[in-house]
Symmetry: C2
Subunit: 254 residues, 2 copies
């Protein structure tokens, strides 16, 4: 039923995957790759993203035949460990690499919900971890400023641990977005704000998280309704942006 290719990985396929490590080629091809048993299976089974190609070790393809039969009709390429290493972005490649079409962002309807606004989150690991946190706390929409890390960066994909298919993500100008939704209360992780441990029961709002070193853009911070601060009991200068996102969401949704 599947079209198995067990010949050597071709030069053109190798070049194609390697090109997807770069944003400009992901944009041209409108596709990206994901790696490893867990992430690939999660994305495949989500039925939210079109899978275009699978490159797997023979054992992995064999073990996952049932899932593949159910969720995938495209070409299956058997690869050897050393071929997988050539196309992988991981230090230790993990059984399978799959190419997917990018998602089509859905319209954002932030009413009656908490949505996340990310202002220039630069680190791909933070970006992926924030997507995973959003999925944990039932956040449906993430609105990213145009300078945020690309969600299809391989490091983002791996840090999301499969959550990518369950969160709708949009890139846009955050100032315009907030102004267009000015009936919804905005919150921001910032200094000298309200103690996060005293906030709970929030059902609707836009929570803005700022850049790892610069925080939130001054123009955006100016129009925020409520600043939220995580009390510091020790001496560290700051908290990691993803950790701060998790802490704030945990309190305000409780």
């Amino acid at each position: 039923m599947h079209n198995y290719h067990s010949s050597m990985l071709s030069k053109s396929d190798t070049k194609y995957i390697q090109s997807l490590h770069q944003k400009k080629f992901r944009d041209v091809e409108n596709s990206f790759f994901a790696e490893g048993n867990k992430v690939v299976l999660d994305l495949l089974q989500s039925n939210q993203l079109d899978c275009l190609h699978i490159f797997g070790l023979e054992d992995w393809l064999h073990d996952n035949e049932a899932v593949l039969r159910k969720n995938y009709q495209g070409p299956l390429q058997v690869v050897l460990q050393h071929e997988l290493e050539k196309i992988s972005g991981l230090h230790t490649p993990n059984q399978v690499l799959a190419v997917f079409s990018k998602a089509h962002p859905k319209p954002v309807m932030p009413n009656d919900k908490i949505s996340l606004l990310l202002d220039d989150i630069q680190d791909p690991g933070n970006m992926g971890t924030i997507i995973r946190i959003a999925d944990w706390f039932g956040i449906n929409h993430i609105i990213c400023s145009t300078h945020c890390a690309d969600i299809y960066n391989p490091k983002v994909i791996q840090s999301t641990m499969g959550s990518l298919s369950r969160v709708n993500i949009l890139y846009t100008n955050l100032l315009d977005f907030v102004n267009d939704h000015n009936t919804i209360k905005t919150f921001a992780a910032a200094l000298n704000g309200k103690d996060v441990t005293t906030i709970s029961g929030i059902k609707e709002g836009l929570l803005i998280i700022g850049n790892e070193s610069k925080g939130i853009n001054a123009n955006l911070l100016q129009i925020v309704n409520e600043k939220i601060t995580i009390p510091r009991l020790g001496a560290a200068e700051s908290l990691n942006a993803a950790v701060a996102t998790g802490i704030i969401l945990s309190h305000i949704t409780s």
Copy 2:
């Protein structure tokens, strides 16, 4: 006053730093390296760690002369950008690399405090982020199982953002440690525990955080006094270990 070396970076220094990328050589040399303006200055100014060698761009050494004069007496090596790239562990090397002696762990006195116990935290980024979180929440002691990532791994050092000098870290058998401190209440991040959002005001305790995929060792989990769970409102299978640590500490210390 300083002994400036502005000749080329020697082959032996290059080899020496490159060897410190590996744990076995860090153990033999009892030293490690840190990189970048912020992390290096934080460690230097902490006065907690002996700095053995500094390799910096000429501009950086010049700009930081006052700090260096005050906190450092060893050799200063001027390096060129391409030399720094050769010895750096960073994608984008950042002005300076410094070699420090490892810290001497102090005796752990967990009474009247919250201490963290890490059970096989494997990812260096998580390890460093957890040290930074501990420093934020005023945790003085982290007790690591012997299979945790090495805190002197370059990726750990960079993720701590300078917090390393303010937290006392010990590697030991966690089961023995808990048994030796059985007058202190133990908490564990685990499934089916008490809702974290209902816990606050904890002043003393051992909080155990488990391995990224396997959680907490069964023998250890068995003797824990209280399991703590972060309620899941969405669909993600799990939270990142460092994010979970931050969320739990934020609630229980409030």
